[in-house]
C-alpha cells in the first residue's frame, strides 16, 4: 500500500513538475548560492543557486522515464530472447542462453557503466545502457517460465488440436508467464532507477545541467557538512522510490499468485 502511494505521488509530481516547482530548476542564481533551507527555498539551493526542491521535482521525471523505458525495452527484448530459447531449444537455446549466462556473470551496474562510458552520457544513452544490462535477467526468467509452461498439459492438448507454434507461444505460453514477468519487471524498475542514479552520480549518466537525483547527490557531496540537504534530499528520494517499487512488486506477486490468495 505504502509503495503504491509513493509511486502515485511520484508520477503526479513528475507530470505536474512545471506547476509544482517553485523555481526554474536550470536557472542559476549566483547571489543565492548554497543557501540553507528557508521559507523561500525549502530545501536550500546548490552551488549555482538553483533551488534544490525544484531540481528534485524535475529529477523525478528523469528517474521515471529511465526506470520505465529501460525496463520496458529490457522486458520486451529479454522476454522474446528467453521465449525463443525456451520454446525452440537446441542450437537457438544454446547460443542465446550462453550469451545471457556470460552477461549475467558481469554485475549489472558494471555492465551499464561500461556501456554508458562507451555510448556517452545523455538520457537516451543511459536508457540504452541500463536496458541492455537488464536483458539477461529478463531472458533468464522468461526462459525458465517457457520451459515449465511448454510442458503443461494444455500445450500438449493445443498441439493435438493442430495449433501452430506461433499461436501456442503468443496465445498461451506468454499469457501464462505474464504474472511472474510483471512482478519481476516492477521490481526491476526500482533497480533501473538506482542504476541511473549510480551512473549520474559517477558523472557518466545524465549530464549537467539536466536534473537527475544521482547527479544531485554527487554535486552536494563537497558541501555535505555545511549544506547536508543538497545530497540527503535526493538520496532519500532515490531510496523511497526504489523501496516503493520493490514493495509494489511484492504486493503484485501476492495478488497474482493464486496460491497466496486469501492468506494475506
Amino acid at each position: 500500500m505504502f509503495g503504491a502511494v509513493v509511486i502515485v505521488i511520484m508520477v503526479l509530481v513528475a507530470f505536474l513538475a512545471p506547476v509544482l516547482a517553485p523555481y526554474d530548476p536550470y536557472q542559476p542564481d549566483m547571489q543565492n548560492s548554497l543557501a540553507p533551507a528557508s521559507a523561500d527555498h525549502w530545501l536550500g539551493t546548490d552551488a549555482l543557486g538553483r533551488d534544490t526542491l525544484s531540481r528534485l521535482i524535475y529529477g523525478s521525471r528523469t528517474s521515471l522515464v529511465v526506470g520505465l523505458s529501460a525496463v520496458a525495452a529490457a522486458l520486451v527484448l529479454g522476454g522474446l530472447l528467453g521465449t525463443a530459447a525456451g520454446f525452440l531449444g537446441g542450437v537457438v537455446q544454446a547460443v542465446i542462453m550462453r550469451v545471457v549466462d556470460t552477461l549475467m556473470a558481469i554485475p549489472m551496474l558494471l555492465l551499464a557503466l561500461t556501456l554508458a562510458a562507451v555510448l556517452g552520457g545523455g538520457l537516451k544513452n543511459v536508457v540504452i545502457a541500463i536496458s541492455i544490462s537488464m536483458i539477461p535477467p529478463f531472458a533468464r526468467l522468461m526462459f525458465a517460465q517457457t520451459l515449465t509452461i511448454k510442458e503443461r498439459d494444455y500445450v500438449a492438448s493445443l498441439r493435438s488440436m493442430g495449433a501452430t507454434r506461433w499461436r501456442t507461444v503468443f496465445g498461451h505460453v506468454m499469457p501464462n508467464a505474464y504474472p511472474a514477468v510483471l512482478v519481476f519487471g516492477t521490481m526491476m524498475i526500482g533497480n533501473a532507477i538506482l542504476g541511473e542514479a549510480g551512473l549520474s552520480y559517477l558523472g557518466i549518466g545524465i549530464t549537467p545541467p539536466g536534473a537527475a537525483w544521482g547527479a544531485m547527490v554527487n554535486a552536494g557531496f563537497p558541501y555535505l557538512l555545511s549544506n547536508p540537504l543538497m545530497s540527503i534530499a535526493p538520496g532519500v528520494a532515490i531510496m523511497l522510490v526504489v523501496f516503493a517499487f520493490n514493495m509494489v512488486g511484492d504486493g503484485l506477486r501476492d495478488v497474482l499468485d493464486p496460491r497466496l490468495r486469501g492468506t494475506m
Binding site: 492438448s157 493435438s160 493442430g162
Partner: protein
C-alpha cells in the same frame, strides 16, 4: 463385429516408437498394428508403460522428440501415410483436431488456466472450421450444451478453475468433437475422474460419437471401462498386441495367458462370494533389453518348452477376427481356463 461393408478408416501397420535415453533405447512400441473402422469404438488395453499412449501420440506425430522417435511403420489414414507428413507441417496440423482429435488424461490441466472456457472453444473451432467472432462464440455455447453443461450461455465465460474435473472433461470432449473429426482418440479419458463421473463421461462419449458418426479409440488400463462401450479390443503388452478380438471373445473366451491374467485380477459381479482375485506375478519387462522370446514368458504360468527357445510368435488367428500371439492354446488347458 459383423457386416462385410465396413470401411477401414485408420490402418496402423507395424508402428515402432523408441525413446533414446542415456541408459539405452526403450522400444515403447514395437511393431504395433491395429485397424479402426467407420463408426466403431475400439479399446486399447494394457498396463502402464506397455506403449498404448505412446502409440496414439505417434499416430498424431506428437511424440516429444528427442528423446522419442518413430522408427518405423505406417499410419494409413484417408489413403495417405500420416507419418510421411512433416511433424509440424500444415498437412499434419490439418489432421490434428480437424480429422483426428485427442482427449487426454488430466482434464483439469489440459485447459489453459488464464483463458475462458469459451475462448478456448472458440480457438478450437477457429483452427479448423474457420468460425471466428460471434459465430464462433455461438458455436462454443452450442458445444457446451451438446456435452451437457448447464447454463451454457453463462458458463461459457467462466475460467477452467471454476469447473469441476468432470465438467472440464466434458469441455475437452466438446473441444475434441468441435470440428466433427472422423476419429476421436481418448487417452485414459476417465482415469482422473471419480467412478460415477467415469460412467457419465463414457455414456456421453458413446452417444456423441454415434450421433456425429465419429470413430472412437479408448486407451485405458481399466478393462471395466471398455467392457460396456467398445466393440473390439486390442490387448497390448511390452509394445505389441498380444491379443485382439471382439469384446465378447476377449471377455468370454480369452486365449492369451496375459489377457486371462488381467481378467482374473478384476472383480466380477457374477462371481461367487469369497473368490480370491488372482494377481499377475512379477513385473512388466524392462523395455531396454528385450529378450527375443515372448516378453510375458517370465510371468506366464502356462509356458511350454517351445516358449523358452523360439522367438515371440506372430499373431495367429484362433477364430473370427480373434488373434493371439502365443504358442499355448488355452482351450486345451480346461481346468485352469474354467477359473476365468
Amino acid at each position: 463385429m459383423s457386416g462385410l461393408e465396413r470401411t477401414l478408416l485408420l490402418d496402423v501397420r507395424d508402428l515402432r516408437v523408441e525413446f533414446r535415453t542415456p541408459l539405452g533405447t526403450v522400444r515403447a512400441v514395437d511393431g504395433l498394428s491395429y485397424q479402426l473402422y467407420e463408426n466403431e469404438i475400439v479399446g486399447i488395453v494394457g498396463e502402464s508403460g506397455c506403449g498404448k499412449s505412446a502409440s496414439q501420440l505417434a499416430v498424431m506425430q506428437l511424440i516429444q522428440s528427442p528423446p522419442g522417435f518413430i522408427s518405423g511403420g505406417e499410419v494409413i489414414f484417408g489413403g495417405k501415410d500420416l507419418l510421411r507428413h512433416k511433424r509440424n507441417g500444415p498437412e499434419m496440423r490439418a489432421v490434428r483436431g480437424g480429422q483426428i482429435a485427442m482427449i487426454f488424461q488430466e482434464p483439469m490441466t489440459s485447459l489453459n488456466p488464464v483463458i475462458t472456457i469459451g475462448g478456448q472453444l472458440v480457438e478450437a473451432v477457429q483452427l479448423h472450421c474457420g468460425l471466428g467472432g460471434q459465430s464462433g462464440k455461438e458455436r462454443a455455447v452450442e458445444l457446451l450444451k451438446m456435452v451437457g453443461i448447464p447454463a451454457a450461455e453463462r458458463r461459457v465465460n467462466d475460467y477452467p478453475h471454476q469447473f469441476s474435473g468432470g465438467m472440464c472433461q466434458r469441455v475437452m470432449i466438446a473441444m475434441g468433437l468441435s470440428c466433427s473429426p472422423q476419429i476421436l482418440i481418448a487417452d485414459e479419458p476417465t482415469t482422473a475422474l471419480d467412478v460415477t463421473t467415469q460412467a457419465q463421461m463414457l455414456e456421453l462419449m458413446k452417444s456423441l460419437v454415434k450421433r456425429l458418426s465419429t470413430s472412437l479409440v479408448i486407451v485405458t488400463h481399466n478393462l471395466g471401462v471398455v467392457a460396456r462401450y467398445v466393440q473390439r479390443i486390442y490387448v497390448m503388452y511390452a509394445g505389441r498386441v498380444i491379443e485382439e478380438g471382439s469384446t465378447k471373445d476377449i471377455f468370454g473366451r480369452p486365449r492369451h495367458p496375459y489377457t486371462l491374467g488381467l481378467l482374473k485380477s478384476v472383480p466380477r459381479l457374477d462371481e461367487v462370494q469369497g473368490t480370491r482375485l488372482v494377481p499377475i506375478e512379477g513385473m512388466p519387462p524392462d523395455l531396454i533389453d528385450m529378450p527375443g522370446t515372448c516378453a510375458f514368458l517370465p510371468r506366464c504360468p502356462y509356458s511350454v518348452e517351445r516358449c523358452q527357445t523360439d522367438p515371440w510368435p506372430e499373431l495367429t488367428s484362433v477364430g473370427d477376427g480373434h488373434r493371439i500371439r502365443c504358442y499355448v492354446d488355452l482351450e486345451s488347458c480346461p481346468v485352469e481356463h474354467a477359473i476365468a
